[in-house]
């Protein structure tokens, strides 16, 4: 078969211009494949990072106990109080679970939190806020608070509070000024504004306050435990599996971000499907191009095929000559297209350094190896039909004897 490969190579190098054109055509198809992979992959990463990136990937919340069932004795009337919106349940043994959860593979950060509602008062101005108490030093474990800080610092401590830009503006607060925070439980604390953040999310910037966990314990009268544990993963796509693992390890109700995110998943799936279609069309174009070029070559080289057959070349030998041509075209076009794709993607900013106004290309998602492999396979498949046609050439009619 080494000799068949030599003949295949000779056929390709004899007509350099035609071969170059063919390889360029394949390379363009591969380039489109890689470009689409990088764009669709980058876009998916971008959407996920913008929508889910700042959220907890797995959340453990304390479950409120079911209200006791009361059976009314005959002749008595029972009054029932509906469950309030404020969560009173706590994860009393959170401290015990934290090291265990942190040791789970794929877990990047764990943030025990106390969450509740409250009112911020400054003078005559009052605003309802959602208060989150986080451990000092873990302010940016889930939400990248450090990254969103526009004034001051994200560092939380005793007597300090960090607010969103809109909330601070509503209360006419500036750094270092004091504000009164009253929890839903009625506990009041005087806190100093140490940082202002701006995420671009109106609900977050206009109604969210961060305090340290000890401050939250005081405000919500929770000397022990937390109301929830938020967990950030290295790979947010592994949330389902990791949540299951944590649930199995701890018995806690770990909920992945994907629960309740069906619309986002459907949108991402639809986008991925679009990418698959485009990439499939690119591959089909390559296959048709290679097949038609080799079919033409088969027709043009009929007399030579006849001579080879007369000289004792078997049908398999002829098949291999043409399949090898397809494989070589696929390989060279694939490598050239992959190189072109890589070079074309280089100027785009990396996923982490993405800037608004540019395409969210991800050079790491170019699927270079896959593109080359699929192209070679496609080109080989495309060459089978012409190769079989070549092997069936009748040497007598082809030579003209």
């Amino acid at each position: 078969m080494l000799y068949a490969l030599k003949i295949a190579t000779r056929y390709l190098t004899t007509n350099k211009a035609q071969t170059a054109l063919l390889i360029t055509g394949v390379a363009v198809g591969v380039f489109i494949f890689i470009f689409m992979s990088a764009l669709i992959g980058g876009l998916a990463e971008f959407i996920l990072s913008r929508t889910v990136g700042d959220l907890s990937h797995v959340t453990i919340e304390a479950e409120d106990p079911d209200p006791p069932l009361l059976i009314a004795p005959a002749g008595h009337v029972l009054t029932v109080t509906e469950r309030g919106r404020t969560r009173n349940a706590t994860l009393a043994e959170a401290e015990t679970w934290l090291p265990l959860i942190e040791a789970v593979p794929g877990v990047r950060a764990v943030s025990p939190q106390i969450a509740g509602a409250g009112f911020l008062t400054r003078g005559a101005q009052v605003s309802q806020v959602s208060v989150t108490g986080v451990m000092p030093g873990r302010e940016s474990a889930i939400l990248d608070l450090d990254g969103y800080i526009v004034e001051g610092s994200a560092r939380l401590g005793s007597g300090l509070i960090v607010l969103g830009r809109d909330l601070a503006d509503d209360l006419s607060l500036s750094l270092g000024q004091t504000v009164r925070l009253q929890s839903s439980g009625g506990v009041t604390a005087l806190l100093t504004l140490s940082g202002i953040f701006e995420t671009g999310n109106g609900a977050m910037d206009g109604a969210r306050a961060f305090v340290s966990l000890p401050v939250a314990r005081t405000l919500f009268a929770m000397p022990q435990g937390v109301t929830r544990i938020e967990i950030k993963l290295d790979d947010l796509n592994a949330a389902d599996a990791t949540a299951l693992r944590i649930r199995a390890l701890t018995g806690l109700d770990a909920v992945p971000w994907t629960d309740g995110a069906e619309q986002l998943r459907e949108a991402l799936n639809a986008q991925a499907q679009t990418g698959y279609f485009l990439k499939t069309f690119a591959l089909i174009t390559i296959v048709i191009g290679v097949a038609s070029a080799l079919m033409l070559s088969t027709y043009r080289r009929r007399p030579e095929i006849g001579i080879m057959r007369a000289m004792g070349a078997g049908r398999n030998f002829v098949v291999f000559v043409f399949v090898a041509q397809g494989a070589l075209i696929g390989l060279m076009g694939g490598v050239m297209g992959a190189a072109l794709g890589y070079v074309a993607l280089l100027p785009f900013p990396s996923r982490d350094a993405f800037e608004p106004g540019t395409l969210p290309m991800d050079i790491t998602q170019g699927s270079y190896g896959l593109a080359i492999t699929l192209t070679v396979i496609g080109a080989v498949l495309a060459s089978i039909l012409p190769a079989r046609a070549a092997s069936r050439v009748d040497p007598v009619t082809a030579i003209g004897q």
């Binding site: 078969m1 080494l2 000799y3 068949a4 030599k6 000779r10 056929y11 004899t14 007399p303 030579e304 001579i307 080879m308 057959r309 007369a310 000289m311 004792g312 070349a313 078997g314 049908r315 030998f317 040497p395 007598v396 030579i399 003209g400 004897q401």
Partner: protein
């Protein structure tokens, strides 16, 4: 001399129904090893068809064909291909060389295709044959740069490459001038004498036929003399 090949009652019909043309009509022939025979006859007599059948490139409609004791009619395509490669050489009227290859590459093709690669031994034999054909200075020339006579001598060298028992030549000098034609015939005669290779040469040329020790006349699909 031993019998190299024998055909009996060969019938070859092209087409079917009313369009059917019977080219061979029960032709029988025996060739002894080491013969140098000319196949004579008018155009359409069936000379080329007979050579094609003897070369195992085509099977007759009916009849028997044995070469070197093997039945060529019942053999499958793969067996015939291998047999052809090992035992039969061809020289065509229009040389039919591979245009994208050099003279040497053309000559060693039958061996390379059998071995799966161009072995040093094949290269040595190919060079020797080309030197013997008087083409020592054209060994690595692309065949496109050779004259008609030179191309035909390359074709003869290729036909001899695997040391075949039989070389079938269909009008090998039909496309050459007189000097080149005689040069090719001299080479063929020399190889026949020295190596005992059997040649069956189809020709219209009386002088070429006279250079052969046996003349076989074909007419109307049978051997007439």
């Amino acid at each position: 001399m031993s019998t190299l090949l024998q055909v009996r009652d060969l019938v070859m019909t092209y087409g079917t129904g009313e369009a059917a043309t019977r080219v061979l009509r029960g032709l029988s022939l025996r060739l002894e090893a080491g013969e140098m025979a000319a196949l004579l006859g008018p155009s359409g007599a069936g000379k080329s068809t007979l050579l094609t059948i003897l070369g195992t490139l085509m099977k007759p409609t009916s009849g028997s064909y044995e070469m070197l004791g093997q039945d060529m009619i019942s053999a499958d395509d793969r067996a015939l291909t291998d047999f052809r490669n090992a035992h039969i050489g061809f020289v065509f009227q229009f040389h039919n060389l591979l245009p994208d290859f050099t003279a040497l590459e053309n000559v060693i093709f039958p061996t390379a295709v059998r071995e799966g690669r161009e072995t040093p031994a094949a290269r040595r034999r190919g060079r020797d044959l080309l030197v013997r054909m008087g083409l020592a200075d054209r060994i690595d020339f692309p065949t496109a740069n050779l004259s008609g006579g030179q191309k035909q001598r390359v074709a003869v060298a290729r036909a001899l490459m695997n040391g075949p028992e039989l070389v079938l030549a269909d009008e090998p000098t039909g496309n050459l001038d007189r000097a080149s034609a005689m040069q090719v015939m001299d080479l063929i005669g020399e190889i026949n004498r020295e190596e005992g290779t059997t040649f069956l040469i189809s020709t219209h040329d009386e002088k070429i036929a006279a250079a052969c020790r046996r003349q076989i006349e074909v007419g109307d699909g049978v051997v007439t003399g």
